[in-house]
Amino acid sequence: MKELLLGNQAIARGAWEAGVKFASGYPGTPSTEVIETLAKRFPETNPRWSANEKVAFEEGMGAAIGGLRVLVTMKHVGLNVAADAFMVFPYAGTNGGFVFLSADDPGMHSSQNEQDNRFYARMGKVPVLEPSDAQECRDFTIAAFDLSERFATPVMLRTTTRLAHHKGLVEVGERQEVQQKEFKPDPRRFSVPIYRRLSRPLVEEKLEAMRAYAETCPLNRIEHSDSSVGVVTSGISYQYVKETLPNAAVLCLGMTYPLPPELLRDFCARYETVYVVEEGESFIEDTMRAIGISHVRGKEIFGVIGEYSPGRLRKSLGMGDLPEPAGGDGAALLPRPPMFCVGCGHRTVFAALKQLKVIVAGDIGCYTMGALPPYEAEHTTFCMGASIGTAIGLERAGHEKVVAIIGDSTFIHAGIPALIDSVYNGSKLTLIILDNSATGMTGAQPHPAAGKNAGGEQAPAVNLEAICRACGVENVAVVDTWDRVGVVRAIRKAVYHDSPAVVIAKGPCQMLPEMRRREIAPYYVLEELCTKCDACFKVWCPAIIRTENDFPKIIEADCTSCTVCAQVCPTDAILLRENSQGDRFLQISEDSIS
């Protein structure tokens, strides 16, 4: 039977079919749908959102050593967080099959950098599988478990954005029940630091055995042809090669580490011109050159930056230009810059920060948009949890009033150690935690402070206020994020405090299912009372538009009843619809704060 599946859904399907009994991950584009699909469709894989990727990896490592088949998922930068565990696990090797997804994001659609994680695999000496379509996402996931158990090694499944986020028809199968493997306690194997010198040579032996296996690995597919052109490729780029050079011979490498030297030499010797087409860095290409294949053209013509596409290959190969946009180039055409959703609770916080004119160190989440107009109230953003450490450093560099701003999920992920450090080392910084009970940017997944697990069931919620106090912060304020004046007051008070202070701005993400499904009593503008002072426009709510007569108008179908525009209106011209059920929104907000 064939199903139309997203690459990520096909990976989830493959994991289920392969008999996975434990799955963990942290949300991150473009990897998120794997755990989501497992949670929705395949609960017998025991899927969970973990506090961060390192914890997810370590939980998976434990479950695999304990004898289960395990899938761990993360985006490319997630592996930076999990790298400590990742680098040492191969020394012990796995017991049950251990496969981890590294979803790379060339083009940085929703990432802070580009990063080709195949280099991690080389550094950690673990094999890499790269599917090239949705069918292979399912097939290679299953094959990855067999490979993992065959060589007792963790296996990296590497995808890129277009592979993860395209849909294709997938022939699916049934779940195989895989017997749990016995765990035999063995300090010489599993206590790596003590016995590292014993394990070290085994890592090299295993790598050589995998290199030999790669020569005949069925995941490396050869399509010979009469053409003088041969192409070595991997991943989604294979599809672009088939569109652009339909007659060329193709070696599609399904296993891109370790690479098979003989297979590559033999393939390339048959063709006069050889192109290497791989998204990301010159990973395959470098190895080919290193083993003496010199008639190769790759990154010099296709480039290392951004996503590939058939159009890009065509241009790079000098096969013709593409039509230009009809409305002029991107700059000439009116853009639709990213912005906070209607009713997003982050708005009031950034409005306050803009007003206070403080230095703001930001973090990873929707609130990176606070750096954009109209707020321009976020001055640094680097990586998960970096806001607090950066703020401590900025303060030490002589900046008086420094604010760190971080989401609830990101705070749990990587913010807590830095907050402890700010107390320990005598910082005076202000930390604002945007507590919306969701990992918002990736689609409002639950996290350890949200009160729900990955499957949407009730779960214990850690108390962020109590965590901050336990870290040693004495001044912790909790405010309703839609209470405009309350937010300003709380932040102002915290900024002028001479010890670390935390403001928790609380209110659920509008993308949460319970927020989207609730009945909403919208607000409207009573033109008789409106003086066209434009104060409501400065809330920058996308649901407020201008009429032909210059009055503000609220798109009632979009209004979330957040009340912020009504709070700023000096003439009380913004009113709740009378025939509605009352302000449902405020009820929810009050419940969530109690």
Binding site: P325, A326, L333, L334, R336, P337, P338
Partner: protein, 210 residues
Amino acid sequence: MTEHIYNLMFAGVGGQGSLLIAEITSIAATQAGYDVKQTEVHGVSQRGGSVETHVRFGEKVYSPVVTPGEADVVIGLEKLEALRFAHFANPSGGLILANDFEIIPGSVAEAEKKYPHQALEHLKDAGYSLEALPASGMARDLGDVRMANVVMIGALSTLLPIPLECWQKALRVRLPARYLQGNLKAFSSGREVLLERQRLGEFQQSPIAE
């Protein structure tokens, strides 16, 4: 079944449901026995940003990505987005199917003044083959402006070699039961508008089929 690979580009604003109708189209093409691939590109914001969704179907489809200049139909759910993605239309035979509807970007200063209100006229003048319909108005008359997206695929259905029953099945598969009846009406009204124009000879574009 021909060897032609059908290339469709759905362009809209986050919240308009362009991804949903691209999915319905993909399911309908699957029902008709085609190989199908689909992909979408959107920015970091959940709502209010440009959303482009690519659908390709035929006997054997490799890339999920539509190349500029190769789309058989660009489905613009909004005028500015139709303009932004018009160059994806194939210069020989490609059509832009546009919803005559404006969404002013919320966070751009003086967006109303900068908005290209003459976008569709501009495209016609530039030589693009374009068919506009008031899908949002039609959907509002049917009771819910949000069904404009389904009105648009009703119109699209007259241009593609996918049998009507495959479209209807796709709508049933993809839409919640409580919205189905309204959306089937929206689909029919979009389809009727284009069929009527074809009957009256106002619209020369024949189905791309075969």
